[in-house]
Symmetry: D2
Subunit: 334 residues, 4 copies
């Protein structure tokens, strides 16, 4: 309460709390009275309800606004299985492939090479959210078919992005795992549908969303009853302009502390330039990430989308060799 | 080109440019060669295509990536008409109403009061994108019907948010103007559908998107052939924690310089607290905004959504009185 | 306390608090125990002392870490007098002049023009903190002499920046008011010396400092016993790249709510371009600022420092005319 | 140039460039003319000089504003020697010790333990820049004497922060290496004096400064003729609030690409909490850092400053063991 708040104002806050069946305790300081609100679900009550009352100076949340994604809800680590591959266990999982599926040759060339180099899951974009309406928008259904074909041939699960809530069923009928992109982390219609898809979901962090908001978005997925959610850090927007997004490496230990969900890192979208990908990938593994999501293209110079951040097949194979000892150094393997 | 780039590397860049029918000119500095690429549509060519070539140090864009929204595409100011109200002209337009439509009484009470105080357009949310899955999600179709009822009774156009691309037709059949929210500024499926809706659109700025990205998103709408787009600044995410979002007041003159579209400001979502709304609203008008979008609730203490940032009916009427002399001070009226 | 914290851990926190003579109250929630620490000076106790104890999940500060600058310490508005000019009263004070003092002609030409147009205080830099060691560093002592000369001739107080703690006495012997620049907001040696200088001080906001940190820095000045401190908002660093710094317009009402000190705004350093200065200046006055700090140069094209953001004498005179009705619209005058 | 710029405006830009002895080349696009300015030192010419001219739309810098710190100025890696310890070579250097020197016992206990665990350089603060004037300000000269005593006893070089330009000589007479703190990265008076001190300098990144600004600040030091500068990444300010500062892991590869100077990482100040330090430290080594700067305290619960981010002696020894295999995984040793 504000310094000098009246007894009536304090009583009104207490009354409001009681009407919501919250416990109340008054802390009488020398300058101010602090009203402590107690209850099992205070994290889900908007603070505004109290902040708007006369005499209230500010409302500070002690309980976090997410629940299902929290380490307190589930103390053990969740392991997400995707087409036989376990994400969140001792093995560090590498998901690799082209940013966009451009055609069968391009996809299969990339897929065979990443599998040979040790990747466990194939990625490839069929629906591309592009910042400009004049850019290539993806092969869409044709792209999904090509991904399914690659899975058949190589026995490798595939993950692909879904951008429209009404495409979730279609995409889920082809892909082993769905990806929610950074710009859709708070697209709640999409989250709700993806949560119902009976597919594991990779939830990328919104590039300007806090970790708390990210875990709250994960709650949208988890609220549908499926706990197969993988969190993917991919860089946040900051003032630094030497890189496309600043990879938040501390997100890895912070998530491990506060959530039971597996955490992977996408160094490609953060870096924006292939030359920075290996250092960030090594750092992610050393920090404790459960996996990596890496863009690889058989011919980056001819890529229709994001060629600059894609590793060539040779560079990807070299990076996988670099990563093995780092994984071992932290007690894991690739 | 990097210092010491070979002639072959320079030739490859030139060859790539020519294959895209771009003009080329070489600037031979003492340390570096700079390759200038010339052509009418360079703004729409991804820089990656060149950045990925060997010997290239960096690619700097001189032309902007947006076109239809630019002041160069259209030098005069666009005036957007919405149900008889002109946005972008001499009159400063105030759009006001509750964050969420909660019921007929609440909506009509707010609507009558904001109209009486001088607002021109009624706002109210029927579909609410909420950061938590446990929060009130809006009355949806029932909310649209109530908004249409308010329009009938008061002869006042209504604007409401659309969050799912597949709801665009439904929402457009009730509302005079569609609103695209901050979290959907880069929801390209939604933008494309809204662009086809034959309704004017208020495009809110993504809270972490640059002005360039915002105008590029406007191009998505404009590319569908309808030029009735209104830009709405609503605060950006920064490190400052005394306010929910930092209103970017400079966006007003920057947009006026670079775009022909009308610009309005939403002080409510930036402030997060009703006590900060009047100062920001006055500043917006003084800076040259064409309008304001303000949340008003007949009883903020009981609001289901965002009560803290909503003005009471009395406070809204007082603010309208405050704004009149400010509008006149900059040669306009409310 | 963490969920499941032991009684011993709770007791240790309570013991630590008691050893610091703090009051203690336990709030027993269903999931967690919250220990409330009570006392008049909790704002000045580092939270780490408690956060480091076993079983503590996090420490949340309810009291603000600043005191002397707070509205609670002094409820009335402080009016700072500088050479006969009152800052913080009904009149909006304009401080204007060149970024750097370059010579007598340049300074006097600017000084006469800004005085004629209605400015009350002359500004001019003698010591210039420059981001590059190869840039012009200011006329230093010679610049101070020229400023003093301008005061003699025009009867106008002068303000100039001090960058080295050991120059405070020298600068104070020439200037009526000292300025602490953005990059020195947390240069504590400089703050302490400036606080002892017996001159009023303009404290610019660090471009990445929160308002709380800013007011805490003001406490450094105020702790020396002189309450003549003027806060100057000059833009913060954000991701937006169309402007040099994003002016935080909401800082004006937030400071007015939380502090008794006068608030001025520097539109020039935020804008970085003269064409954006007028809109931001008008917005600042409309938002409730007590004054403006504006860079003016008789010949911006030939300025040695920051020519692009400087208004010409003609543009400055035009802006002053624009500002008069805005000031009146908010019940003040210039 | 702006679309439609006149021939006279173009000629004026060309004339200005020639008067500065720059080469000029015109690139005539279909919409715009671009004037390329050529010369060896364009990086040191303020862009404003041209941006202010009529008809100019914007000025884009191709050459970087720093020179001496750049990889182009010196292609090989610089190895900085500090009291016999080489920073920037194959060995990863760990600098460790208490945030603040509190007394002989505390310092010696920490010093012996960090040496035994494998640290090469002892750190300890004697002059403490504190955000609140009511906090502990350091032992100052007494602290320097204790550091020198530790060096004598243990044969271990010491590094300590200098905050006032006039203390540089004093600090340099006790310490083997000077540290410039984050809040002083652009304290140019301090940089110039430190550059003249004949001591190697650790230059911490300003918490809101870009890498380009950081390397430009390094130029201030290098311009004095001593090339013994070590860059220290310590986290940047972002919107994320789960950690004190977001460690910019990509700064490591970006600096390695653009500069010849050694790069170390301070995980303690970024994390703000000891539990996050190990993951960030491992990531830094994996990303290619040449060293670490870590806060260690014999009794973090009793630390006067930053106890929460300090590792206990046991935790530090454990971390050193964790780091060894990570260093080996990237071809180095600790």
């Amino acid at each position: 309460m504000r310094t000098g708040a009246s007894q009536q104002e304090i009583d009104d806050v207490v009354g409001k709390a009681r009407s919501l069946e919250l416990g109340v305790q008054l802390n009488l300081g020398t300058d101010k009275t602090v009203v402590a609100l107690l209850g099992g679900n205070t994290g889900q009550i908007p603070t505004d309800i109290f902040a708007v009352l006369p005499g209230v100076e500010s409302v500070t949340r002690i309980m976090k606004p997410y629940k299902l994604a929290s380490r307190e809800f589930r103390t053990g680590n969740t392991i997400v299985e995707c087409g036989g591959v376990k994400i969140g266990g001792e093995r560090i999982i590498v998901i690799a492939g082209p940013c966009a599926v451009e055609g069968q040759d391009q996809l299969m060339q990339a897929a065979r090479a990443v599998k040979k180099a040790g990747a466990s899951v194939l990625r490839g974009g069929a629906f591309k959210p592009r910042t400009s309406p004049f850019s290539f928008q993806g092969l869409q259904k044709k792209g999904l078919e090509l991904l399914a074909g690659a899975r058949e041939e190589l026995g490798m699960p595939v993950v692909t992005e879904v951008v429209d809530p009404h495409d979730v069923k279609l995409v889920a009928s082809y892909a082993d795992m769905l990806q929610i992109g950074s710009r859709n982390m708070q697209n709640f219609a999409l989250l709700t549908n993806a949560g119902k898809s009976q597919r594991p979901v990779v939830l990328k962090r919104g590039f300007s969303c806090t970790i708390t908001e990210w875990l709250t978005a994960a709650d949208y997925l988890l609220a549908e009853g499926d706990n197969r959610v993988v969190l993917c850090e991919r860089g946040i927007r900051t003032f630094e302009d030497s890189i496309r997004f600043s990879l938040d490496i501390s997100a890895v230990p912070v998530l491990k502390k506060n959530s039971h969900l597996p955490v992977i890192v996408d160094p490609s979208h953060a870096a924006g330039h292939f030359s920075l990908v290996p250092a960030i990938a090594r750092a992610a593994v050393a920090a404790g990430a459960d996996g990596l999501l890496i863009e690889v293209h058989p011919n980056p110079k001819e890529a229709l989308v994001d060629g600059l951040q894609s590793l060539s097949l040779t560079n990807f194979a070299a990076l996988m060799e670099e990563l093995k000892p780092v994984a071992e150094a932290v007690g894991r393997y690739i």
